[in-house]
Symmetry: C2
Amino acid sequence: MSKHVRLGPGREFDAVRALVGAWGSSAVGIGDDGALLDVPAGSRLVVSTDSTVQDVHFRREWLEPAEIGWRATMAALSDLAAMGASPLGLLLALTVPDDWRAALPAIASGVGAAAAHTGTPIVGGDLTTGERLSLAITVLGHTPRPLARSAARPGDTLYLTGALGGPGAALAAWRRGGRPRAEDRARFAHPEARLDAGTWMVRQGAHAAVDISDGLAGDARHLAAASGVRCVLDLDAVPCAPGVPVREALVSGEEYELLVAAPALDVTAFAAAHRGLALHAVGRVEAMPGDAAGELVAEEGGQRVALPGGHDHFAAP
Amino acid sequence: MSKHVRLGPGREFDAVRALVGAWGSSAVGIGDDGALLDVPAGSRLVVSTDSTVQDVHFRREWLEPAEIGWRATMAALSDLAAMGASPLGLLLALTVPDDWRAALPAIASGVGAAAAHTGTPIVGGDLTTGERLSLAITVLGHTPRPLARSAARPGDTLYLTGALGGPGAALAAWRRGGRPRAEDRARFAHPEARLDAGTWMVRQGAHAAVDISDGLAGDARHLAAASGVRCVLDLDAVPCAPGVPVREALVSGEEYELLVAAPALDVTAFAAAHRGLALHAVGRVEAMPGDAAGELVAEEGGQRVALPGGHDHFAAP
């Protein structure tokens, strides 16, 4: 089995040395079979793994190599944000086809930039050949009180960070054979994991959170199902990227914004604490009658309306 | 990004439900963006990631699907064994081509069997499509005192668990178009991570360890380089699988036995504590003069002899 990076001789090790060089001070403790980390006393350890695969999550012609590394890293870190956790470290399992070898330093620089931007040490990795470029990134974090998707309570308000629809609009443009608008492309190519927003939510007593990777409608359904509640989305209140209709914004995936169920929050204080990032109330949580399963419903102009489906990644883009 | 497993609707979720069903009580805390774990007080957290890729680490016709799952899991856990750590949990990032979909339950059962055999909870995962089957497995463990590959000291004895050469003999038979002997095939298809041996070594005051994934010669070189010492292998003392010459055993990779640098150990007590698994003294650690880099040398019949090279995984088998 090819292993955690090492500094012995050989072709694999030369490639690894180049990666570690590109990461500079973000690479920590590389060289043993496993990396060592310490979890602060009183904190729970949170771990998650997330893969980005060529022709499943992106096409080669859409992104620069550094953007592929940045995006895969932020997508993985977004799971920590949704738990309200601060990052402890990440591990990168890279599968690199021969025709991507020359792009490896740029991909690594994107991973390194996202790691440095979020203060996440790169503590290990693994490098193999394969048919398609793949980055499987495992993230570790810690939190005194994790946000669970099963903890939304009747009476909570649903809050959303940022605005939706940019990544979906970019994907739609690429699939038509066109070029996306610069701001939509940037939302797809250069997402930011909402780590500070997640820890702010923990401090403010929020109950539950998910990140919007499957689209707001799909992820709100997951939250409702896990918590056994009715989530009511107010479509008039959902913030959309310029020119994107709300029904497209609802199914735009790869957003990495947070949907949070919480008692009333101060959205002005949130924006002030997050360099202007917006927080919007987009709905409410209600009790389900008896033993009924959780559900998602939507309102528009005060009337119940039908909802589009979610975003299923297990199909090629 | 396809995420950590979830129980909402959709094709990905159906596949995940099948996996979680196959794992039974080994699957713990599946359903949130991240899994929660607690590290015992006074212990360090150890993490490592390891990928098994079709046509890089195995060929489809060599292994049954359940063996692929077992082997990939044990290969990943072997990194914890080499650190002297006990497992806390594992995460599985699976890439599954369409023509492997029918084998997914059997692959999952192999992962589940290895997890249950070692008492390792499966705490998360990720499922995507791709051209080749790939299992990227991240393992987490804890230890009060990690074994590092950089901690071998002059005066230490080098110890090896088990006997070497079976996996190399199996690979050689397959590459010739033949069929390996049953015992050699079993060593390749059904390895055991030496987790109990690793924690025993910690308790006995061992200094350094590596697992033999790149072949004894290659991994002893890594140990020597990381520790800045001379490792002297006694080729007459290296235990080999029946019929395997020592020079082939030295470069047989995928072994998952442990090479340990330690003060004198009781090999009889080791065997008694490990259901007869052998521990052999196979060499010694000496100081390097001045600022010289670490090196590996070998002796046979008391004479210095030349060594073959290591086992480089960054080439297809």
